[in-house]
């Protein structure tokens, strides 16, 4: 194989896969990138067997072929080269000669045959999806994913399709067991078994999904095959192995909209909680929120440093009530939403609170109070 490629194009391609390549792997081939040259493009493929990506970039290919090279070393080399065309030529014993102006590198590689096969996705179990909308839904939910590795079924986002009044919605849910976030939106989804039952995208896959959506300029295709999901853009395909686990029955813990709720200006509330929580206990981050007719008071205290207290006016007509919350959870929710006003619905110290945008319930967050 022999090809030449613009430095900036290759650098972009290589930097894109750095987060996928396994850093400390026991399988050496997985720290490599597979380079395949054909016609006027090269394909770069990387995988850690959970998340894989294959993307193509324009290049002038003299002789087609393929090789596996250390993703990290190649990236480090390319990064330091001048902004010119780089020439690649495969030598014997899976060695690659890299030349740019007067610099020449000979990099040892591995047989491309060792590289895991990239799964194919069938067209009939895939459908077009609105990228920016999916990104928004990911942002509304991803902060609630668990980071506790032992709770693998909560270590990601649950995707499923559901029928609401004859229309199909795509619904995303994430929870770490203490709080939960849900986002849904109308989508034209064909009958896909996996989605009807629901699938869990792992945390790393969620992160890569966000990146590929940000970079994609055209519409995206989301597809499923066996236990993999794929997101296809024009130049790149992302393959994600779905989590093999049961997602909890989340509908049970979402309170019905009925209890008295407060209508709160989101930005003001966000800044208030940020200020008051500076003095919350480092470990629990607890703040106490008291609702009074027409106002709210947020208090934090810390035996080491002192206490903070702030009140704000809002729309609330229920009974006086005080509930403790983890300030970090509240900030995550308030940060993830974009609306002007939110609806904050709570019952008592033992029942989950519900936060939704004032106008709709397309994204909602449920958070368990804490004992203070």
């Amino acid at each position: 194989m022999e090809f030449s490629i613009k430095k900036e194009v290759l650098l972009k391609g290589l930097s894109r896969i750095q987060s996928i390549v396994e850093k400390r792997t026991t399988i050496p081939i997985l720290s490599n990138v597979l380079i395949e040259g054909e016609e006027e493009k090269i394909f770069l493929t990387a995988t850690d067997l959970e998340v894989g990506m294959k993307a193509n970039y324009p290049a002038s290919v003299k002789t087609p072929g393929k090789i596996a090279l250390s993703a990290k070393k190649l990236y480090e080399i390319v990064r330091e080269l001048p902004e010119k065309d780089i020439c690649f030529k495969v030598l014997e014993n899976f060695r690659m000669e890299i030349q740019c102006e007067k610099a020449v590198f000979k990099l040892a590689g591995l047989s491309p045959e060792q590289f895991p096969k990239f799964p194919e996705v069938e067209r009939d179990s895939s459908f077009p999806i609105d990228g920016p909308n999916l990104k928004r839904m990911l942002e509304h939910t991803s902060f609630s994913m668990s980071s506790d590795d032992s709770k693998y079924n909560l270590n990601g986002i649950f995707f499923h399709s559901l029928k609401e009044e004859e229309r199909t919605c795509l619904c995303l849910v994430a929870t770490d067991g203490h709080r939960l976030a849900l986002a849904k939106s109308l989508a034209d989804i064909p009958d896909i078994e996996q989605l009807k039952k629901g699938v869990i995208f792992p945390r790393k896959g969620v992160m890569e999904l966000r990146k590929i959506i940000e970079e994609a300029e055209t519409d995206l295709i989301l597809g499923f095959s066996d236990n993999n999901a794929a997101l296809m853009a024009n130049e790149a395909t992302l393959i994600i192995r779905l989590v093999d686990g049961e997602f909890p029955e989340y509908q049970k813990v979402i309170p019905a909209v009925s209890e008295p709720s407060a209508i709160v200006p989101r930005e003001d509330f966000l800044r208030l909680v940020r200020r008051v929580s500076t003095l919350a206990s480092e470990k629990s981050r607890g703040v106490k929120i008291s609702f009074f007719p027409g106002s709210m008071e947020v208090v934090s205290s810390n035996p080491e440093f002192g206490e903070a207290r702030e009140t704000m006016d809002l729309e609330y007509e229920g009974e006086e009530t005080s509930i403790g919350f983890n300030a970090r959870y509240l900030l995550d929710i308030l940060n993830s939403q974009e609306c002007e006003k939110i609806r904050f619905q709570m019952k008592d110290n033992l029942s989950p609170g519900l936060i939704t945008p004032f106008e709709n319930q397309d994204c909602l967050a449920v958070v368990m109070p804490m004992r203070l």
């Binding site: 506790d148 032992s150 709770k151 929870t175 067991g177 203490h178 709080r179 939960l180 909890p248 029955e249 049970k252 813990v253 470990k283 629990s284 607890g286 403790g324 983890n326 033992l350 989950p352 449920v366 368990m368 109070p369 804490m370 004992r371 203070l372």
Partner: protein, 397 residues
């Protein structure tokens, strides 16, 4: 000895349950009182001092006790009331020093070294506490004042009942050497028997046994402990509760045990007690450890850390049993212990959205058990396999 001022006070309420009953009901005063369960099947939990000449002791079957002392009055256990009185008394202790270490519902150590400049020397403080407790609750205390915990406890035993005994550093030797070794902390029947073979009956005899011999016989820790105790040395501090980093229970067997079933039964009992103590302190721990001391005094500990904290006895037992099973050594075991550490009390403040139904059920079961124990005492409800006559008998070694 580390320090010579007698600043440590040991306080022990005399015949606590029985005295509370006599105080609450004046008609019972001057009568022989036994607190326990039913006449047929109950066990003596406490008895007034005047029943003791008849040979009545805690733990004895009530039926047997009545044979020795037929005119004794049998009263039901009113645990809640005893706890209430105990709290009142501990509040009195706390007003004299913040270094109060409760040993049980009716027993405590106080370190008053920080209070002497304000309240007078330890003996004066002890006298004041005694008077205040009698004034406010009508109960009698046996009090020992000494330079360390071990001596203070021995001193309070000297004055029983209703005594106040001051042991100053210069009198420690005279006091200690005449005592039988059995009075020393941690000298049980088995150690006593072994020491008797060496001709050791009193502490003075024990002092003649060299340090090396004791370490050879009992291992580094226990050997040193015996050596120190014989000389009145005890470096442990009075430790108020709440700073605990672990909760554990251990037991030295009367005879070394090899039988796996007996060991598992003991693990079950210890695990159950540790769970109960954790819940009492509102703690949950993630790490379960076992401690095993073999007959040759080799001591091992093994531990396992769970993803989620627990205070549920059967959870602790399951791990403890696995840890014990993993030990390949087939030597006879002298001591067995179970400890839970790595507490996660913060997590309790943040409840879970999803209630694990099974877990909720177990939690309610534990609450129920704790309530029954709170009302009728720790022995009132125990795992069925630990009931006498069930499973392997404990003397079936």
């Amino acid at each position: 000895m580390e320090k010579n001022t007698p600043d440590i006070i040991h306080l022990d309420l005399d015949a606590f349950y029985a005295s509370v009953e006599q105080h609450d009901n004046p008609e019972l005063r001057g009568r022989k009182v036994i607190v326990g369960g039913s006449r047929e099947r109950g066990v003596v939990c406490a008895c007034s001092y005047d029943t003791r000449p008849f040979g009545i002791r805690s733990g004895m079957a009530i039926r047997e006790a009545l044979r020795f002392c037929p005119d004794a009055l049998i009263l039901p256990v009113r645990m809640n009331r005893y706890r209430e009185v105990s709290q009142q008394i501990f509040q009195i202790y706390a007003s004299y020093t913040d270094l109060v270490e409760p040993l049980s519902i009716d027993e405590a150590f106080l370190d008053v070294s920080g209070s002497t400049s304000l309240l007078g020397d330890a003996f004066t403080i002890a006298k004041k506490i005694k008077e205040e407790v009698r004034g406010k609750t009508g109960l009698a205390l046996s009090v020992g004042v000494a330079p360390n915990k071990m001596l203070a406890k021995l001193a309070s035993e000297q004055g029983k009942p209703d005594g106040l005994y001051l042991l100053t550093a210069n009198r420690v030797d005279d006091f200690l050497t005449t005592l039988p070794v059995a009075n020393l902390w941690g000298v049980g029947r088995k150690t006593q028997k072994q020491l008797r073979l060496l001709g050791v009956e009193t502490v003075a005899d024990l002092r003649r046994i060299g340090f090396d011999t004791l370490v050879r016989m009992y291992g580094e820790n226990s050997g040193r402990h015996l050596y120190d105790m014989a000389r009145g040395i005890d470096k442990r501090h009075v430790e108020p509760p709440g700073r605990a980093k672990s909760v554990g229970r251990e037991r030295t067997f009367d005879c070394d045990v090899k039988c796996h079933e007996v060991l598992e039964q003991e693990l079950l009992l210890l695990s159950d007690q540790v769970g109960s103590r954790l819940r009492e302190k509102d703690l949950k721990g993630r790490t379960v450890s076992i401690k095993v001391k073999y007959d040759d005094f080799q001591t091992l500990t093994r531990s396992f850390t769970l993803p989620q904290a627990t205070s549920h006895g059967p959870d602790i037992y399951r791990l403890a049993r696995r840890l014990l099973g993993d030990l390949e050594n087939r030597k006879a075991i002298r001591l067995l212990g179970v400890t839970v550490s790595h507490f996660e009390s913060e997590e309790d403040n943040q409840p879970w959205l999803f209630n694990d139904d099974q877990k909720g059920l177990l939690c309610r079961l534990d609450e129920g058990i704790d309530k029954i124990r709170g009302k009728y005492g720790d022995q009132s409800i125990i795992p069925g396999s630990l009931l006498p006559g069930r499973g392997k008998k404990s003397n079936d070694r």
